[in-house]
Amino acid sequence: MPLITYREAIRHALSEELDRDPNVVIMGEEVAQFNGAYKVTEGLLAKYGPKRIVDTPISEAGFIGAGIGASMLGIRPVMELMFWSFYSVAFDQILNNAANVRYMSGGQINCPIVIRGPANGGTNVGATHSHTPENVLANHPGVKVVVPATAYDAKGLLKSAIRDNDPVFFLENTMLYGEKGEVPEGEYTIPLGVAEIKRAGTDLSIITYGRSVLYALAAAERLAAEKKVSVEVVDLRSIRPLDVDTVLASVARTHRVLIVEEQKPFASVGAQLAFTIQREAFDELDAPIHRVTTVDAPAIYSSPVEIEQLPTPNRVYLEALKVLA
C-alpha cells in the first residue's frame, strides 16, 4: 500500500468526494488561491475551479452560517476552519443552528455539513490558538464529532462524514499533517462510531484518540520492554457516536483503564468515558480509572513548558504504572 501523509489522505478524501457528488463544495479562509493555510486543499482550486473551491473573508460566523443554510437546501459544504480555535467566533451558528435545526423542525430539516480543521496544542502559538473543543462540541446532541489519529482513518472517516446527513465536526491535528501511513489507492470508507484496537493487550486498556494514540502506543512499547506489561490501545476515532461496546469489551479483557486525552480535564471526553465505564462495567474493574489530560490551565506559550502541559509518552508511562500498581 502507498505511504502517504495524513494531509494527503484528507486531500484525497476531499477530491474523491468532489468527484463523486457535484453538491460537495469546499469553503474556507485561504483554501483556494493560497492552497490552504496548512496546504490540505493544495491543488483543488486548479482541479475543480472557483465554483467548488471557495475562498471566504475572515467572517467565520457568516460563512459557516451560510454553509449551514446551504446544507439545509441540499448542498454538502465541507468548511475549513483554519484552526478549530476559531470556532468560537461561529459558536452560535455551529451549536445553535447546526445542532438544533433538525430537532426544532421536528425532523423536517437536515444539515449535512462537515466542518474540518486542526484542533491541537503543542505548536507554540498560545492560548487563543490551542483549543481542543471536541468535548464542547460533543456536548450537543444533533452533532457528530470525529478525531482521526492516522492517515488511513482520516481518509475513510472524512469520506463517511461528507456522506453523512447530520453535521459532522472533523478535528485534525497540525502535528499529524506530516505523519505518513499506509493508505490504499481505491475507494474505502470507515463508518463513524467504530473504535479500533490499535494494539492488543491483556493487562491494561489505554482508551484514547487523536495524537494521544501515538503517545499511548509509544508508552505501551516501553511498558512491554521495561515492565513486561501487555497494554491494549483503543483508538476511539469518533467521539460522538461513541463506540462504547469496543471500550467495554477491552475493559472486560484487561480490567484496568487509563484514559489519555489532549483535553483539559473538567467535563472532558474522558470524564464521560469514565462515567460510562464505571456505570456499565463496574464489576470488571480491578482498579480506579486513571486519566492523563492537559494540565488544567490555558495553553502556555513557552515551548518547553507547553510540551509538559500536554500528554507526553512519559506522562502516559508513569500514569500507567500507577494504574497497574
Partner: protein
C-alpha cells in the same frame, strides 16, 4: 516627508472633521521640537531593528510558533501612539510588536516573551501575539481576528463612564473589518457616543488574500452606515498619521465621538515568518514600496533635508537601535524558561492571592 496627502479625506460630518491639509503645518506637528522629531524617527528604527533581530532568532530556532512582523508599517503605530495622553488607550491584534514599543515598553521583556522566557512581558505565557502592558495603557496583543475590537469599545465605555477625557484606539487589519464583532462594536460606539477610534491598518492583504478579494466596498466608508465620522490617511508618512489621527482623537476626547480611520500601509514580510509569500503578490510590488514609500526612509530624508539631523546622527540612531536589539536578544537568551509549576499560576486571581480567597470549592482538576 511627503508634502501632499492626496489619499486623505474625511467625510463631512455634523461635527465637521476636516482633512489634514499639509501634515507638517498641522499644529500638532508644527509644535514638534527637533528632539521630538528625532524621537519619532528613533522609535520607528527601534521597532524595525527589534523585529529584524527577532526574525534572526526565529531562523536560529530560538523562537517558534507565529511571528507576525510589522516591518513597513512602523509609521502607523508610532504616529498614533505618539499622540497618547494619560487617558488614551491602545489595543491591537497579533501584529503587535510595533505598538508595544511605540507605547514605551522595554524591548528586553518583549524579546524574552518571544523566546518564551519567564522574564517576558507576559512571563512566557502569551508569546508574540499576546503582548500586554496595562501600566502603559496597552491592552494587547490579540490572536483572534477582530476579537479585540469590542474590547477597545469597552475601554472607551469605561473612560466615558469614569468621566475621563481620553480615547481608545482599537487597531485592526484590512481583513478583520469583515468580522461580525467589528460591526457590532461600530454600532455600539456610535449609538452610545463612545470615544473610540477604530484604526484600520490597511496593508493590502489578509494573509494571502488581497483587500479586493475580501471586502466589498470601501473599508472606512462603512462608518457612514453608523453615522460615524471616518477618514483615510497615508500611513507611510508619520506626520500625516499624526495630523489625521489627532483630529479624531481630539473629537473623541472632547466630544466623546467615535470614528473609523483607514491608514494605508504595507507589510514587507510574509503574513507570518512561516508564510513563504510567493503566491499572492510580486516581489516587484514589495520593492516598489521599499524604494518609494518606506516610512523610515521617507522621514529620514525629510529630517535631513530640514536639517533636523544629519546623516551621521541618523546612522548613529540606527547603530544604537541595533545594539538595543542585540541586548534584548542577549537578555532573552540568558533568561530562564518558566517551569511546569508556572502553568497553573495567573489563571485565577484567587489562587494567586490565596490569603484573600473568598470562594470555596476546588478550582483546578486533574
Amino acid at each position: 516627508m511627503s508634502t501632499k496627502s492626496t489619499a486623505s479625506s474625511v467625510t463631512p460630518q455634523p461635527e465637521g472633521a476636516k482633512g489634514p491639509g499639509d501634515p507638517r503645518q498641522a499644529p500638532i506637528n508644527a509644535r514638534l521640537k527637533p528632539a521630538d522629531k528625532i524621537e519619532l524617527y528613533r522609535t520607528m528604527v527601534r521597532i524595525r531593528r527589534f523585529e529584524e533581530r527577532s526574525l534572526r532568532a526565529y531562523q536560529a530556532k530560538k523562537i517558534g510558533g507565529f511571528l507576525h512582523l510589522y516591518i513597513g508599517q512602523e509609521a502607523v503605530a508610532v504616529g498614533c501612539c505618539s499622540l497618547m495622553g494619560p487617558n488614551d488607550h491602545v489595543i491591537t491584534a497579533y501584529r503587535d510588536h510595533g505598538h508595544a514599543i511605540a507605547v514605551g515598553m522595554d524591548t528586553k521583556p518583549l524579546m524574552a516573551e518571544l523566546y518564551g522566557k519567564i522574564t517576558g512581558c507576559s512571563k512566557g505565557k502569551g508569546g508574540s501575539m499576546h503582548y500586554f502592558d496595562p501600566s502603559r495603557n496597552f491592552w494587547g496583543g490579540h490572536g483572534i481576528v477582530g476579537g479585540q475590537i469590542p474590547l477597545g469599545t469597552g475601554l472607551a465605555y469605561a473612560l466615558k463612564y469614569k468621566g475621563l477625557k481620553g480615547a481608545a484606539m482599537a487597531f485592526m487589519g484590512d481583513g478583520a473589518v469583515n468580522q461580525g464583532a467589528v460591526h457590532e462594536a461600530y454600532n455600539l460606539a456610535a449609538l452610545w457616543d463612545l470615544p473610540v477610534i477604530f484604526v484600520i491598518e490597511n496593508n493590502g492583504y489578509s494573509m494571502g488574500t488581497s483587500q479586493a478579494r475580501s471586502s466589498a466596498g470601501d473599508l472606512a466608508r462603512r462608518a457612514e452606515g453608523y453615522h460615524m465620522a471616518w477618514g483615510v490617511c497615508n500611513g507611510h508618512d508619520v506626520l500625516e498619521v499624526r495630523s489625521v489621527m489627532n483630529e479624531f482623537l481630539q473629537r473623541a476626547r472632547e466630544q466623546s465621538k467615535p470614528a473609523v480611520v483607514e491608514i494605508k500601509t504595507y507589510r514587507y514580510r510574509g503574513h507570518s515568518v512561516a508564510d513563504p509569500d510567493r503566491t499572492y503578490r510580486d516581489k516587484s510590488e514589495i520593492e516598489e514600496y521599499q524604494r518609494t514609500k518606506d516610512p523610515i526612509n521617507v522621514y529620514r530624508t525629510a529630517l535631513i533635508t530640514n536639517k533636523v539631523f544629519d546623516e551621521a546622527a541618523a546612522d548613529q540612531i540606527d547603530t544604537e537601535a541595533r545594539a538595543e536589539a542585540d541586548v534584548a536578544a542577549d537578555f532573552a537568551e540568558a533568561s530562564p524558561f518558566p517551569t511546569a509549576d508556572d502553568i497553573q499560576k495567573d489563571v485565577y486571581w484567587e489562587t494567586d492571592n490565596p490569603s484573600q480567597r473568598t470562594s470555596g470549592g476546588r478550582l483546578f482538576f486533574t
